[in-house]
């Protein structure tokens, strides 16, 4: 059973027709869900706003107050990329709340997978800062809630951009393992392999920066060779995916070269990290090509539900094999260095 958790109705968080982070993205991914023809096989879960207790596990009260006040006064541009409108704080709280609602639904259901077609996206939002289209860190709010309940949480971030916000929030938290594959150099400029976590969580940040043009086989290799051993040792109870689709080759904001077939393989690999069924939730992050959003959503969810779906062939032969090896080496040195401190 597929759980789809997200705000129902219109989302007034809107940056205008020329801003790529717009409500049409949700229409595209929901088209991808409908393409699976699941009919009664979807459990739609509405998402109430995340409460302050959940939000303040991740964000400072000062930041939340400022963001709420900014929106109440009508909002505006927070930085050259990021905007907020009068309804944006409520929209962001509902996006964060969708994660919490999906976790409750998965616990009740006991199996299946949850998909969260939410916006604004979250993985760039830091504890006290909005950036990169993101206001509240949706995946972090859910991970922190699970961690507070004694669960060990793996976050896999396959968005083309590094999730600087998620990394910084769990930098020194031994309850959460953060794994990211991303194009580098690229916004936000973080995510080097040497960034491995703080002294209390040495090695629990896994960054595998990849060059422009890297293909699906390289991303797969990065996760299998660099991240998989760390994940096995960590033994997560839950897996949350920062599920950006801007690593697709058609995306206008990224320059990786993945196909829908690659996303299907990544989904299969990530599912294999799970300790038991019903502990996997995918949070929409980036992705700005309507066509790629639709087809990639169908590819990932169809694969996780063991359905036959039309897929573009997996890609291979792009650059990045040496980057994966370098990341492995750089991580080793960085973790060893923390151990000597």
């Amino acid at each position: 059973m597929l759980i789809v958790a997200g705000p129902s109705g219109a989302n007034a968080h809107d940056g205008g027709a020329f801003h790529p982070e717009q409500q049409g993205r949700i229409f595209s991914v929901m088209d991808g869900v409908r393409d699976l023809n699941l009919e009664d096989g979807i459990n739609y879960v509405d998402s109430p706003e995340a409460d302050l207790e959940a939000l303040t596990r991740v964000h400072s009260t000062k930041y939340l107050d400022e963001l709420e006040s900014f929106c109440r006064l009508g909002g505006g541009d927070i930085d050259p990329d990021t905007y907020a409108r009068s309804d944006s704080f409520a929209a962001a709280r509902r996006a964060a709340g969708a994660g919490l609602a999906s976790i409750r639904a998965l616990e009740l259901q006991g199996d299946g997978v949850a998909f969260l077609p939410v916006r604004p996206p979250g993985h760039h939002a830091e504890a006290d800062r909005a950036m990169g289209f993101c206001l509240l860190n949706n995946v972090a709010v859910s991970a922190a809630a699970l961690a507070a309940g004694g669960q060990r949480v793996l976050i896999v971030d396959w968005d083309v951009h590094h999730g600087n916000g998620t990394q910084s929030i769990f930098w020194d938290d031994p309850r959460v393992l953060y794994v990211s594959t991303h194009q580098w150099p690229l916004f936000p400029g973080t995510g080097r392999a040497q960034e491995v976590g703080g002294p209390n969580a040495a090695g629990l940040t896994v960054n595998i920066p990849l060059p422009r043009g890297a293909t699906g086989d390289i991303v797969q290799c990065a996760l299998e060779e660099v991240a998989h051993p760390v994940i096995d040792r960590f033994a997560p109870d839950w897996i949350l995916v920062s599920c950006g689709f801007d690593a697709h080759r058609a995306d206008p904001l990224g320059e990786l070269a993945l196909s829908t077939g690659d996303f299907a393989q990544l989904a299969r690999l990530v599912r294999s990290f799970a300790s038991r069924p019903g502990r996997l939730a995918l949070f929409l992050e980036g992705g700005y090509s309507a066509r790629a959003l639709r087809s990639s959503t169908a590819a990932v969810l169809g694969t996780l539900l063991d359905l036959e779906v039309d897929l573009e062939p997996p890609t291979s032969g792009g650059p990045g094999r040496d980057a994966v090896a370098s990341a492995q080496s750089a991580r080793g040195w960085a973790v060893a260095g923390l151990g000597l401190q």
Binding site: F18, H19, P20, E66, L67, F70, L73, G76, D77, I78, D79, P80, D81, T82, A84, R129, A130, M131, G132, F133, H161, N164, P185, L186, F187, P188, G189, T190, P252, L253
Partner: protein
Amino acid sequence: MHAINKVAVGFDGSNDSRAALHWAASLAVATHASLKVVHAVGLLEHAGLSGHATPHQDVALKTAIGAGMDRSAVEWLVLDGDPCSALLRMNEAPYSVDLIVVGTRGSGEHSGSLLGSTSRELVEHSSIPVVIVPPQSSRN
């Protein structure tokens, strides 16, 4: 007191950032420091959906040279990230600057709002001195 050998200044083409650049260049001339002019590239600019670094570079170099800097002591840097993050990285190798200079408000920042204020976030997070230059200083 630590000598000022390298100065970084944020530049986004706004009037405030021009004032900051002029002030930073004047300081660099007086202290014989080098100057790194930092232009942060966000998601939209990278995709060609807003702004472009090249025209900013021309304006920045003219401003620095106009303040008396030798061209060889000015470096134009285009870094991925939001302005605050990009400037905070200037404290790290290989840049390792001694001082960060910014204008009061960057492009798109709102008067009266602290949210998204690069200058405030820098002051909160930087481990090296930060100078915030008011726009009026461009008259000096």
